[in-house]
């Protein structure tokens, strides 16, 4: 893709283009992960990058997630800006110790004297008919940890720009990629000036109720809003984009207008990011709420075998059901 052009890209291609741009413009950027080299990653996100930038910058690693993140920390201490791929959501846990006890805390431990510009890419979420450990949404487990930032794009343009901003950040960023939307295509303008990384965006304006989501659930909410519109309900859809920090100001602004909030994510509802949003928004604008904040998400159950995932995942009907319940108050 030529610099500065506008093009319709899939999310996979947009992340690839963003990584390519960073490899071109900053020789301290290195890509690391399992199968990211010749194969281009199991989802082809890093396709062609090792061919063009060499094995020193696009590094196939041993099959050891803690080792990948632990060595990325060391590279960051040496002045590099590693972009690490964890192959699937459910495989991040061997690295969880390094992420939580080291990566997140290093800047504070050093009283600010070292920085940890590490991006950890995690393809996450279900809906692709996969086997166990390939469909999970662990974002709350990372958002709970001070020192980390967590983002999740829902479209190709955000995928491109949020990756640029994540790499530019001097803080560790967990970048959750909505794998079931990987091949959704939308316009990407590579010469646009992006908005702030951690700001929510109004995906669709409305007046009766706010649907807040991020990553793969934004499309579901958009579809739900369109369906509700046919019944005369005006639904505002907010793409949160960032899970840590969460743009509570942006949500509050929307809820003050609509008076109702439903938050949707694939991750289990219990202790999920929706719980945090519900608590904060209730505290911030209690008197503007016409109904309790409702949540739609996964159950307190292991992610089910794929033949059951359509029942487990929030779909159009479950979102509309919550919309109806909120509007009934």
């Amino acid at each position: 893709m030529a610099a500065g052009s506008t093009e319709k890209l899939s999310i996979v291609k947009a992340i690839n283009a963003s990584l390519r741009k960073s490899l071109e413009t900053d020789n301290k950027v290195v890509i690391m992960g399992e199968d990211v080299g010749k194969l281009g990653g199991v989802f082809r996100v890093t396709d062609g990058l090792q061919k063009d930038f060499g094995e020193e910058r696009v590094i196939d690693t041993p099959l050891a997630e803690s080792g990948i993140v632990g060595t990325a920390i060391g590279l960051a201490l040496r002045g590099y800006r590693p972009v690490v791929e964890i192959q699937f959501d459910g495989f991040v846990f061997p690295a969880y110790d390094q992420i939580v006890t080291q990566l997140a805390k290093m800047h504070a431990r050093a009283l600010g004297k070292v920085k940890m510009p590490v991006v950890i890419r995690i393809p996450y979420g279900g809906g692709i008919g996969a086997v166990e450990h390939h469909s999970e949404s662990p974002e709350a487990l990372f958002a709970h940890v001070a020192g980390l930032k967590c983002v999740s794009p829902s479209n190709a343009s955000d995928a491109y720009w949020m990756m640029q901003q994540a790499i530019a950040s001097d803080d560790p960023v967990i970048y959750f990629e909505p794998k079931r939307r990987y091949h959704d295509r939308s316009e990407v303008n590579t010469s646009a000036i992006p908005g702030p990384l951690h700001a929510a965006r109004v995906e669709r304006a409305g007046t009766d109720l706010t649907l807040a989501a991020y990553g793969p659930m934004v499309k579901v909410c958009r579809d739900a809003a369109a369906a509700a519109a046919e019944e005369g309900k005006s639904i505002e859809v907010l793409d949160l984009r960032s899970i840590s920090p969460i743009d509570f100001d942006g949500i509050e602004e929307s809820v003050r207008k609509t008076g109702r909030l439903v938050i949707v994510h694939e991750a289990p509802v219990f202790f999920g990011s929706g719980a945090e949003v519900a608590a904060r928004i209730t505290e911030r604008c209690f008197y503007h709420l016409e109904a309790p904040v409702l949540r739609v998400g996964g159950f307190h159950a292991p992610y089910p075998p794929s033949r059951l995932e359509d029942e487990y995942l929030p779909g159009l009907d479950r979102v509309l059901d919550a919309v109806d319940r909120a509007l009934a108050y």
């Binding site: 803690s66 060391g74 960051a76 390094q98 800047h107 431990r109 001070a146 920090p245 509570f248």
Partner: protein, 383 residues
């Protein structure tokens, strides 16, 4: 039980026996690289040699004595309530000073939380080490000002950081080396195994320096391994060597060789410094519950400082004047440390919110403002 640890439990030999042994080393003894015997006698090793001036020898002695004095003062400060905790290095001075003095300025150190002697070699002010044990910070020194990374408490994690840093050194085309400290307990951690794997496959210039001090809190090395730890390296495709960890000369010679090997592009090496934790794991520990006094007495006979003093005296490399002056220097250091700790201020309460993120975070900003307002409310009420 390894061959060497069995040997370590044998009683001290008489002077004549010892000389015989030095001349006719057995296979077991060459396995443990030693250049200065517990009796203070210089011996040669076929693979590792060292030639130091009397001044350099006195320097190593001074380093060990001052480190031990600092360490003892810190233990005292903990007992008096000035520190919350202290992890003593007593008995491990030779392993730390020997390896620490093998380093070049441009080399980089990744310590555990017990590397006070290595910190000394890197010119990290000893009082900087005490902040985390007093509870005023979690480390806080600038790792890059002395190429001495922050103390790492989670066991073994830093071996991966060292490996990644070494991968970066190689990428930069620099000829520096990196050294990762860890212990016999850490050798069971997955991160250490992964560090061995990564360093081997990328041929990273890192030296893994394992201080096998025989005890991981209450668990003996036999609970961590069925083979001598240095032999683990072979399975990863790089050399491992066991050195007498109470012999500062051997630790220096072996670490120098390992670092030089790394600098010249030959990749990682494992050094197992066979030593003994003379004190408790930390000031919170009670070793009388799990180990016998007799074992400690056996290791007292191998004391790293005593054997070098014996050698310096016998060879007339140091006189009483030197030892007396060093004693005074030790006391002065202890006093400086003591004064520094006792006058170390508690951090401002708003420090809770500092340095969490380099680029800021909206929630931290919000909570900082709320907490500041909450604190200010007391002032307004005249408390």
């Amino acid at each position: 039980m390894t061959v060497d640890s069995t040997a370590a439990r044998k009683p001290r030999r008489s002077s004549s026996t010892k000389r015989t042994r030095a001349k006719q080393p057995t296979a077991d003894q060459t396995q443990l690289v030693q250049l200065l015997t517990p009796e203070g006698e210089r011996v040669e090793h076929p693979d590792y040699s060292i030639d130091l001036t009397p001044e350099e020898l006195r320097g190593l002695y001074r380093d060990m004595v001052l480190t031990r004095r600092f360490d003892a003062e810190a233990t005292t400060l903990q007992r008096q309530g000035e520190l919350g905790l202290w992890a003593s290095l007593l008995g491990q001075e030779a392993a730390q000073i020997g390896s620490g003095r093998a380093l070049r300025d441009d080399d980089y150190v990744f310590p555990t939380y017990r590397e006070h002697g290595v910190a000394w070699c890197r010119d990290v002010d000893p009082t900087n080490l005490l902040g985390m044990f007093r509870g005023v910070n979690n480390g806080g020194w600038d790792p890059n000002s002395n190429n001495f990374h922050l103390y790492t408490i989670v066991i073994g994690s830093q071996t991966l950081h060292a490996t990644g840093y070494a991968m970066g050194v190689a990428k930069d085309g620099a000829d520096s080396a990196v050294i990762a400290y860890f212990g016999d307990g850490a050798s069971s951690q997955g991160d250490v195994a992964e560090a061995f794997t990564f360093s081997a496959v990328y041929n990273a210039p890192v030296v893994f320096f394992c201080q096998n001090n025989q005890w991981a809190i209450s668990e003996p090395t036999e609970r961590q391994t069925r083979v001598p730890l240095y032999q683990r390296a072979q399975g990863y495709g790089f050399p491992g060597v066991r050195v007498d960890g109470n012999d500062v000369l051997a630790c220096l010679a072996v670490t120098r060789a390992a670092l030089e090997r790394a600098r010249s592009g030959q990749g990682p090496m494992l050094v197992e410094a066979y030593t003994y934790r003379m004190g408790a794991h930390t000031t919170s520990d009670d070793p009388t519950r799990y180990r016998a006094d007799e074992e400690r007495e056996l290791w007292e006979a191998k004391d790293p400082i005593l054997r070098l003093r014996t050698y310096l005296t016998r060879e007339e490399f140091a006189d009483e004047e030197f030892f007396t002056a060093l004693e005074q220097e030790s006391d002065a250091l202890a006093k400086r440390v003591r004064d520094a700790v006792r006058s170390m201020p508690d951090p401002d309460h708003m420090a809770i919110f500092e340095n969490i993120y380099a680029d800021g975070h909206a929630l931290v900003d919000e909570e900082r403002a709320q907490f500041a307002a909450y604190q200010a409310s007391f002032a307004e009420e005249g408390h």
